[in-house]
């Protein structure tokens, strides 16, 4: 690379074209909007205009923008987290021993339950400033997306193809170069896919975290989520629909402008060298590739980044990599002892905290019983969703021309924050005096059932054509066909979807088991309602207890049910 200028600048053929105008307008508008919104973050929290949410639909674009910005701030934080923690876990054996199980647990812990603590913490960091609330909301979204992204990258890093690693070593790439040339590109498809899942889940949390109640105080952060919560208080149905419309547009834009181009782009990092059937480029990617000025700018940025990636940076300690020494036993021992001490101290802290706040064994028993209620709900919901969506998914998945279209819709539905639809259910329940123990339940799976649908579709469309033909030729039909042919075939996919759906449902129980419409309060019996109530009461000890018990339930659920099922599925049911 002896050229001093990037090739894109020296080329004379790149005059601006129409696409540049379109693209530049979009970029500029984005910047203007950003500048407009940012200063409000640093206003004092008491300033009325900072946190007041008006139901005027004209304000919705701004609210939508602020919600979206929170989303992206959280995504950025998640990426930073992923790029530091995942390599650390993959490269350092000791760090890996700790980080991997922690990530695993954090993945399955009900994040919404923690909202209370994190809000208190961030409010403490920026006393009296909106920034504290903002950070708390961003952090809530961060906690919903960072773990599985980091986990995905960790998995990619530990399964690098041996030949590429050897090639990197033979060409004496420094660890820095190796990271950018081999490890990051290799992790990219998995990371992008998980990012998409995370973002989809994130919309739910960003909406939930904008209206925060801490004890007797409650705050709203201007955004779509708080708009809806104000609409609920004021019983304004038109406002709910406006919010849903705004969210629809935001998700559509996110899907079209960011997600689809990203997935198409990441396909080039896949490990296959053969050119397979590739989906058509989404229009945004085409636009970016066709605009002359934009692509020059992109090239400059790209060349700059590439130069950084080429730097022969290396840590002094990395030199030791050449001849790996056996790990020191003494250091290992010290490490284990330290880890055990920290863990013991943490448990002692939790028990002590809960116990010192008048929470006794009877409370624990009560919470466990409530946990059972919620668990029954989750199981029934997953079963119902499976009953509905498996046949539908199979039917669609076996028809490729349908599968492609429905898949897009299902992914979109999964990204749409279901909590925006809660009010509609609540109104119906209030109107018909439904039993809240039964009728609040479907809300838990409203947003997460789509994971089952789109995984089943993916499974059915991946079902090998020759097996289909064999079954037809043997004249396998009816129930025998479901039992022997298609259900085992899609089972691994179904389990993947069900794991996501059940995790999401546990989380959603915290917002779904309690609902209100103006002065009408609906409450179901369950652990989610318990946590929500404790949060409203400002009883931190009960929140801790509730969240801890829920974590145990979720982890137990995963370990006892999903993990063995998944292991069985991959062992027995895959080709």
């Amino acid at each position: 690379m002896s050229r001093s200028l990037p090739s894109s600048l020296t080329s004379s053929r790149r005059l601006p074209n129409v696409w540049d105008v379109v693209a530049s307008a979009c970029v500029l508008a984005g910047i203007v909007a950003l500048v407009h919104v940012t200063p409000e973050t640093f206003q004092p929290i008491d300033a009325p205009e900072a946190v007041a949410v008006s139901l005027d639909p004209a304000n919705l674009p701004e609210y939508a923008l602020r919600t979206t910005l929170r989303m992206f701030a959280a995504l950025f934080a998640s990426l930073v987290f992923t790029f530091t923690v995942a390599p650390l876990a993959a490269k350092s054996r000791r760090a890996g021993l700790l980080i991997v199980p922690i990530l695993d647990i954090l993945q399955s812990v009900p994040i919404l339950g923690f909202l209370t603590f994190t809000t208190a913490f961030f409010m403490g960091l920026f006393p009296g400033k909106v920034a504290g609330l903002e950070l708390a909301a961003i952090f809530a979204v961060f906690t919903s997306q960072a773990w599985n992204m980091a986990f995905s990258m960790y998995q990619s890093l530990t399964t690098l193809p041996a030949d590429l690693v050897e090639a990197a070593r033979a060409f004496r790439l420094t660890p820095w170069q190796r990271f950018w040339r081999l490890e990051v590109p290799y992790s990219m498809p998995g990371l992008v896919w998980n990012m998409m899942l995370s973002m989809s889940g994130g919309w739910f949390f960003v909406v939930a975290s904008e209206a925060i109640t801490l004890g007797d105080k409650s705050w709203t952060l201007p955004g779509i989520g708080s708009y809806v919560s104000v609409a609920l208080d004021q019983r304004s149905m038109p406002s709910v629909w406006w919010a849903i419309l705004a969210m629809f547009i935001v998700i559509l834009a996110y899907d079209q402008l960011l997600f689809r181009p990203l997935v198409a782009w990441s396909a080039k990092f896949r490990m296959e060298l053969t050119a397979g059937a590739v989906a058509e480029d989404p229009w945004v990617l085409k636009l970016m590739r066709r605009t002359r000025v934009l692509s020059v700018i992109m090239d400059v940025i790209g060349d700059g980044l590439a130069t950084i990636a080429r730097l022969r940076l290396s840590l002094p300690m990395a030199k030791g990599e050449r001849h790996a020494q056996p790990p020191s036993k003494l250091a290992d021992l010290l490490f284990y002892v330290a880890a055990a001490l920290v863990a013991g101290w943490a448990v002692w802290l939790i028990v002590n905290y809960v116990a010192s706040n008048d929470v006794g064994l009877s409370d624990v028993g009560e919470v466990v019983v409530l946990g059972m209620f919620t668990m029954v709900r989750v199981i029934v919901l997953i079963a119902l969703a499976a009953l509905v969506w498996v046949p539908v998914g199979v039917w669609i998945g076996l028809r490729p021309e349908w599968a492609r279209r429905v898949q897009v819709v299902a992914q979109f539905a999964a990204a749409f924050p279901a909590n925006l639809f809660f009010p509609i259910f609540v109104i119906l329940i209030v109107k018909f005096h439904g039993n809240s123990d039964i009728w609040l339940t479907p809300l838990m799976i409203l947003g997460t059932q789509w994971y089952i649908l789109f995984n089943v579709i993916a499974g059915a469309s991946a079902f090998p054509g020759d097996l289909q033909e064999a079954a037809k030729n043997l004249q396998v039909r009816g129930w025998l066909w479901w039992r022997r042919v298609i259900l085992p075939g899609i089972f691994p996919y179904f389990v993947t979807g069900a794991i996501t759906a059940s995790g999401g449902s546990w989380n959603a129980s915290i917002v779904a088991e309690v609902a209100s419409w103006g002065d009408d309060k609906l409450q179901a019996h369950g652990l989610g309602a318990y946590i929500a109530q404790a949060t409203t009461d400002g009883n931190f000890a009960r929140v801790v207890l509730g969240v801890a018990v829920m974590s145990v339930f979720v982890l137990g659920f995963n370990r006892v049910l999903w993990r063995p099922l998944y292991a069985y599925a991959t062992r027995r049911l895959t080709l």
């Binding site: 097996l467 064999a470 043997l474 396998v476 025998l480 022997r484 085992p488």
Partner: protein, 443 residues
């Protein structure tokens, strides 16, 4: 099991045509006017190049595909959907990975609603017959390729079909395993131990067809037609080294390389455009160069008998023939009557160095491949020397199926790149003259 007292044919196909509808141009015809009669007690081979529609015909006969036109009669009845008494063996085995060997074998019986005792007995018999005893409780994953195909055979035989269909049953196996399986099957067949009346198999391996079948139908491509039908008169077991066997193999090669009559296209197009839309076979330039080198030196010295060449290069007929056709298209070699002979430019190519070869290849492309010539001409004419590949693809799709169009364009890209006639940017789907040295500025 002899067919003397059932004069009616087992299977009769008349005027079978399979076409896929295309909106922009004429329908894409895969099979055209195929007639076929299958008698009791014979093993029939369908031989042809990939894309000649022989697998499609097999699926039509199996009732898995409905033909666009024509009649398929099975035991005198019109077929609609999978029929009783027809079982199929797949190239990829198509075993259900979640079922054990026994469960896989029993699946067809379960579908017929046969009682458990009977089911188990018949499955056991089939498993023993095909040499799978001891593997009953194994999962397909645990078996080697050969064993898997045995399961596929047992699964087909257990329903006691009258007709066994096999879709390239040995082509996914290594040479030794395939040969063992073939001889086992022929032995069982000629000793009449198989509970079947007839076998129809698809293959692209000429020797395999001559080794196993009583009758061979040779298919021509584009659209698929029965180009030739021949009877194999040798008794089993057959000897591959027998001169009569070799002669028959030679004859089939000659049939398969016979110049096809210009197919009458349904849409009449100006000559120039039709030239651009000549389908190109995707063969890499490395393979072409390797083949030319091999042809140029002894023992061939510029001219080779195809069966001998295929054996010498360890290629199957359907691998070698496209390479020969590509060379013929470029006029680097002549392909006729089972021989492949280098032309003068082919001989020059063999002797040239890397740059010289590229020059010869470039000239051959510009003179004999209208699509490549048209792409380069367009680039030379454009002020920015760029052209989107989409327009060429669109043009191709007016004359052929999207798959063929895609393959043809990809081949043009690959060959043009090697000849350094143009560059191609995959992401932008654009041809250009970037980094092309002899690119002349447009006047």
């Amino acid at each position: 099991m002899d067919g003397t007292f059932s004069p009616a044919p087992l299977m009769q196909v008349t005027g079978c045509r399979q076409a896929y509808h295309k909106d922009s141009a004429a329908d894409l015809v895969v099979l055209d006017d195929v007639n076929l009669t299958l008698k009791v007690g014979e093993m029939v081979g369908l031989l042809g190049r990939s894309g000649s529609g022989k697998s499609t015909l097999l699926r039509i006969v199996a009732g898995l595909l409905k033909p666009t036109a024509g009649e398929v009669k099975w035991r005198g009845q019109q077929i609609d959907g999978p029929a009783d008494g027809i079982a199929m063996v797949f190239q990829s085995f198509a075993l259900f990975p979640w079922l054990t060997v026994r469960e896989n074998v029993e699946l067809g019986l379960e579908a017929l609603g046969i009682a458990k005792d009977e089911r188990e007995k018949r499955a056991e018999d089939a498993i023993d017959l095909i040499g799978l005893g001891g593997y009953e409780s194994a999962y397909p994953k645990e078996l080697s390729g050969g064993m898997r195909q045995r399961v596929g055979l047992a699964r087909a035989l257990v329903v006691h079909p009258d007709l066994l269909l096999m879709d390239e049953p040995f082509s996914a196996l290594d040479v030794l395993t395939a040969e063992t399986l073939r001889t086992d099957l022929i032995d069982l067949w000629s000793e009449q131990k198989l509970p079947i009346k007839s076998i129809m198999m698809v293959t692209h391996n000429i020797e395999e067809a001559v080794l196993m079948c009583d009758r061979i139908l040779v298919f021509s491509s584009n659209p698929g037609r029965v180009a030739h039908e021949l009877v194999v008169p040798f008794p089993h077991p057959r000897n591959r080294l027998d001169p009569a066997f070799r002669e028959l193999v030679d004859n089939i090669y000659a049939v398969m390389t016979r110049r096809p009559q210009k197919p009458a296209t349904s849409v009449q197009t100006p000559a120039a455009e039709a030239g651009v839309a000549t389908p190109l076979v995707s063969v890499s330039t490395n393979l072409l160069a390797g083949l030319i080198e091999a042809l140029a030196v002894p023992p061939y010295d510029g001219r080779a008998d195809l069966p001998a060449l295929a054996a010498g290069l360890q290629l199957e007929a359907d691998e070698l023939l496209p390479m020969g056709e590509a060379l013929q298209q470029l006029r680097l070699a002549d392909l006729a009557d089972g021989d492949l002979a280098l032309t003068d430019s082919g001989k020059k190519f063999a002797l040239a160095d890397t740059d010289g070869r590229k020059t010869i290849f470039a000239a051959a492309l510009r003179n004999h491949v209208p699509l490549v010539a048209a792409i380069r001409r367009t680039l030379d004419e454009r002020w920015n020397h760029r052209a989107s590949s989409v327009r060429f693809l669109d043009e191709l799709e007016d004359h052929m199926s999207p798959d063929y169009a895609e393959e043809t364009l990809r081949t043009a890209i690959m060959w043009g790149r090697y000849a350094e006639l143009y560059a191609y940017d995959e992401e932008a789907a654009q041809f250009s003259l970037e980094d092309i040295e002899d690119a002349k500025p447009a006047e």
